[in-house]
């Protein structure tokens, strides 16, 4: 199992969570699974940082949580994006692209 994720920047984790939730409401475990699957096992979220990140985003008002039924009929807490969260996602996606492009340019120069 890949471990590059250990050094995931905090802001990056937030961005990944927001992106995942943009597809629809999801519970904590589902979010972690989804990030791992989509990144083809490159990014693995340690749950120790997942839940603090979720709670922080909830405090900031980017996401809200409701209790609902999971796919295997257990009570689970589902998170979904708020309007503020959508704006934050757009903002951070853009700045991430800028950042990545800048890093890329630096790496390309010899």
């Amino acid at each position: 199992m890949a471990t590059e994720s250990e050094d995931l920047l905090q802001g990056t984790l937030d961005l990944l969570i927001l992106r995942t939730l943009a597809l629809g409401p999801q519970h904590g475990w589902g979010i972690a699974q989804r990030i791992q699957q989509v990144s083809r096992d490159v990014l693995s979220v340690t749950q120790g940082s997942l839940y603090p990140a979720l709670y922080r985003l909830e405090e900031q008002g980017a996401i809200v949580a409701d209790w609902g039924m999971s796919e295997n009929n257990r009570r689970a807490k589902f998170y979904r994006l708020t309007r503020a969260g959508k704006r934050q996602l757009e903002r951070e996606t853009e700045s991430w692209h800028r950042f990545a492009a800048a890093v890329g340019r630096v790496l390309r120069t010899e």
Partner: protein, 885 residues
């Protein structure tokens, strides 16, 4: 303390801690189950799957902790910890905690009590409907003798007609009448008002009703409304009084209602009646004359009308009146103004209350500085504990918060105790405030006051705790680096403590100066030559009933018999009757004075207060005759009209010429009654000891038989025992005639000083408290310095330094703080003096003698406070001192 803990628990409950914990737990368990299922699906055994799931989560509790901290209620939990820890620490040193709490309780208690006065009197809304719309109208006259000119009936009618700014204008004056039908004949003060008075103020009757326009028609059946205080006092709050018929001014009066407890303003009226029921006000001449100015006017601003707009409206009406009736108004400077009712009602109390409030705030500031000083000293001895906690990983912010929590808890305990202090002080303070304002009914320890106390407590805690806390947390790093054992905060705190002590000295200086100035002022007032001799004079107010003494002859007869019989009482040296007497609080009649042969119609007349009095009145009051003679028994009815002038008036009218034999007329009556000036007497401070005497004219009682006045008896010894005998005489002459207020002139004089004396007493008490706290603080600073320098002192003594040199070195530290404090305080006192200036009599707010004496006193007391701990330094044994460290 358990209350506090319960309080914190409540706060936690508020944040639904339990629910959040349970949710967190459930969420993580769900996660574990899902993960385990996933692992199971990938082929792990059940046991292995659960182990892996847990491993991946990184430990249940650690994850929970991280999640909690992200959530924020972590902060609250830390507060709970801080509080618990602080309570433990404080319990461990009960002496220190007790001293601090007590000092804070005194400081915060005094503030709570003063704030309840300021709030009740100055800030609280008046208990009327939309009270901010209410105004009082005043007429100002460039040279009026009294502060305000009242209105005449036609004045008011014109104002009603010619202004648009008011939704209502109401008339008011107050008189004393005799009321029959209660337990005994009673002298009652009666507010006489237009029917709309209570409508304008916006007050409904508590029982029955207030006046209707029908009640105020000429010839209507007279009706009365009781004030709440009088109803309780004289009728025991009996609701059956409504509907009763009582006898007054020879007419039956029906009681139609009782008022709620509104402020006893403008006067302490027992009863209220409509203008039609007042024999004085319903007189046709009174109604028609523009110059009979005896009435106050209250108004309610119309919807949306500003005060400025109302003033313009009044000014326009005023101009029209002056143009239309030029003969009826003094020329020049005559104007009508409106003042908000609240400002009017509290005008006298305002400067005193703000001054005292500023004073107690300063006292609290001193207490804060002192508590800060105590905490610094204690930190020095707690250094090891603080350093240890720092070494164990407590962050600097956390330590700072911990120390602040301690001082806020102390301050809140002090505030709680302070409420008790305030409750104990409040009754005395209400009695004090009643000398300035009718609003004392509105003073209470209500929610606002308690909120103020809470805020004061928290602010005090933060203020007194922040300096030591910052010092300590800054010192920690240094202490640890130095290898432990150091006392955090010690290095910088010596200077800081000196600064704090200096600050206390400065504020104390300021307070002592204001106390000193008011003391000098009271001294001056007590020593002031009032122009009369109050010793052994008894004054009994005997106002004759309008209904029974209609003619001058009836009044003369009563006066003559009364004086004859009073003169023969044992011990009486002189007996006289006068329409009023100095400092009786009622004032005199005011009239313009013309000089025969010099009068031009329309010219401004010098105004003078006039009295009607029997022969010997000057002897009874001990007023000095400067020229000519006083009033004599020969000045009777039918004899040539005479007048005696006060010094100031004689000077104003005649300058260097001899006034004796010249003729003057008082008032605007036509044709004028010319009176020959037969004497000039010394000026008398009639209205108040701190007011200039003003102009005075005395007329013979027999020639102007007053209906209201007082019997004045000068006796060989203390005259109070004469009261019963005089009452018997009055009852004998006329059983329906009550005796009103009875007091000695000495009492009247003392009462006129009661308010400034109480203010001085309070200021002095606060200043003394400040001084005591400061001296303790100062002594502490020096003692601290000695303790810190034990080793240095030991070395210096071992090297042969004399005791004197050591003493001087130690004292220098304390006295430097005193010196700086005095200089800063002197500068600050100039500011406070500005607040004080209006309350001072005969002493400038920058009086150098007061400043000098206070400075000397402060330095002397401070030197003493420093000397005691400093002696400890010189008593050191060098060998012991060297071994001590």
């Amino acid at each position: 303390m358990s209350t506090l803990r319960r309080g914190i628990a409540a706060v936690k409950g508020l944040f639904a801690r339990r629910r959040l914990e349970a949710e967190l737990d459930e969420e993580l368990r769900f996660h574990l189950a899902m993960e385990a299922a996933e692992q199971l699906r990938q082929g792990a055994s059940r046991e292995e799957a659960e182990r892996r799931a847990m491993l991946k989560l990184g430990g249940l509790e650690a994850t929970k902790e991280a999640a909690r901290s992200a959530r924020g209620y972590r902060r609250l939990e830390a507060l709970g910890q801080d509080v618990r820890f602080a309570l433990r620490i404080l319990r461990r040193s009960p002496g220190y905690s007790g001293a601090v709490v007590l000092a804070l309780a005194l400081g915060i208690g005094a503030n709570t009590a003063m704030f309840s006065l300021v709030r009740g009197v100055l800030l609280r809304e008046l208990p009327y409907r939309q009270p901010d719309r209410l105004v009082v109208l005043h007429q100002h006259d460039r040279q009026a003798v009294t502060a305000e000119q009242l209105f005449s009936v036609p004045d008011l009618e014109d104002l009603r007609r010619r202004t648009r700014a008011f939704s209502g204008l109401a008339e008011y004056h107050s008189m004393w009448f005799n009321l029959l039908g209660g337990a005994q004949p009673e002298r009652v003060q009666t507010g006489v008002v237009s029917a709309n008075f209570w409508n304008v103020l916006g007050t409904r009757a508590l029982l029955g009703r207030t006046f209707s326009p029908e009640d105020d028609r000429p010839g209507a059946q007279p009706v009365l409304v009781f004030s709440y205080a009088y109803w309780r006092r004289s009728w025991g709050g009996d609701p059956a009084v409504v509907g009763k018929t009582l006898q007054m001014n020879d007419h039956p009066h029906r009681v139609i209602g009782v008022l709620p407890p509104v402020p006893q303003y403008p006067d302490e009226n027992d009863l209220w009646m409509p203008t039609s029921a007042c024999p004085f006000r319903s007189d046709p001449h009174m109604i028609a004359s523009r110059q009979m100015r005896g009435f106050s006017v209250f108004g309610r601003l119309g919807p949306g009308v500003t005060l400025a707009r109302a003033r313009q409206d009044l000014a326009a009406a005023n101009r029209a009146l002056l143009a239309e009736y030029p003969g009826d108004y003094p020329t020049g400077g005559y104007r009508i103004d409106a003042t908000p009712l609240l400002a009017e009602l509290t005008a006298r109390a305002r400067p005193t209350l703000w001054l005292l409030f500023a004073t107690v705030l300063l006292v609290l500031l001193i207490v804060c500085a002192n508590v800060a000083n105590l905490q610094l000293a204690r930190l020095a001895s707690r250094g090891d504990e603080v350093a240890l906690r720092a070494a164990l990983g407590a962050g600097r912010g956390r330590l700072l918060r911990q120390l602040l929590t301690e001082s806020v808890i102390l301050a809140l305990l002090g505030a709680a105790l302070g409420i008790g202090v305030a409750a104990a002080l409040l009754e005395a303070l209400i009695a004090f405030a009643s000398r300035f304002t009718a609003r004392t009914g509105d003073i209470a320890l209500d929610g606002w006051v308690l909120a103020f106390t809470l805020a004061a407590g928290i602010a005090t805690g933060l203020l007194s705790g922040s300096l030591p806390a910052v010092m300590a947390s800054r010192g920690i790093a240094a202490g640890i680096r130095a290898g432990g054992g150091g006392s955090p905060g010690q290095a910088g705190s010596v200077r800081l403590r000196a600064v704090l002590a200096g600050g206390q000295v400065a504020v104390s200086f300021l307070l002592l100066v204001s106390a000193g100035l008011t003391l000098r002022s009271i001294w001056n007032l007590q020593a002031v030559d009032a122009g009369f001799n109050p010793d052994n004079v008894l004054a009994l107010t005997i106002d004759l009933d309008w209904a029974h003494y209609k003619t001058p002859g009836e009044r003369r007869a009563f006066h003559r018999i009364l004086l004859d019989r009073a003169r023969s009482l044992p011990g009486v040296v002189v007996a006289a009757y006068s329409s009023s007497y100095p400092l009786d609080g009622l004032g005199r009649g005011i009239g313009g004075v013309r000089v025969e042969g010099r009068y031009t119609p329309g010219a401004d007349l010098p105004q003078a207060g006039f009295r009607m009095a029997s022969a010997d009145v000057l002897k009874a009051l001990g007023i000095r005759i400067e020229r000519g003679r006083g009033l004599e028994s020969a000045d009777r009815e039918g004899a040539p009209h005479v007048a005696v002038l006060g010094h100031a008036l004689a000077e104003q009218l005649f300058g260097p010429e001899d006034p004796i034999g010249r003729r003057v007329a008082v008032g605007s009556g036509q044709p004028p009654v010319w009176r020959t000036v037969v004497g000039v007497i010394a000026d008398v401070r009639d209205l108040a000891l701190d007011q200039d005497p003003g102009n005075a004219v005395w007329l013979p009682l027999d020639q102007e038989p007053a209906i209201a006045g007082s019997l004045l008896l000068r006796s060989r010894r203390e005259p109070a025992h004469l009261t019963a005998a005089v009452r018997a005489i009055v009852r004998d002459i006329d059983p329906r005639q009550p005796v009103g207020r009875v007091q000695t002139l000495a009492t009247a004089r003392a009462a006129s000083l009661a308010a400034p004396r109480l203010t001085t007493l309070l200021l002095s008490a606060f200043a003394a408290l400040a001084l005591a706290v400061t001296v303790i603080g100062l002594g502490g600073v020096v003692a601290f310095g000695v303790a810190r320098r034990t080793r240095e002192i030991g070395i210096r003594m071992a090297l042969g330094a004399g005791r004197g040199a050591i003493l001087a070195a130690v004292l220098r530290e304390g006295l430097a703080a005193v010196g700086i404090g005095v200089v800063v305080g002197a500068a600050g006192a100039q500011l406070l003096a500005r607040l004080l200036a209006r309350l001072l009599f005969g002493v400038p707010p920058t009086d150098p003698i007061t400043y000098g004496v206070v400075a000397l006193l402060l330095v002397a007391v401070a030197a003493l406070a420093c000397l005691l701990p400093a002696r400890r330094a010189t008593d050191l044994q060098p060998s012991l001192a060297l071994r001590a460290l």
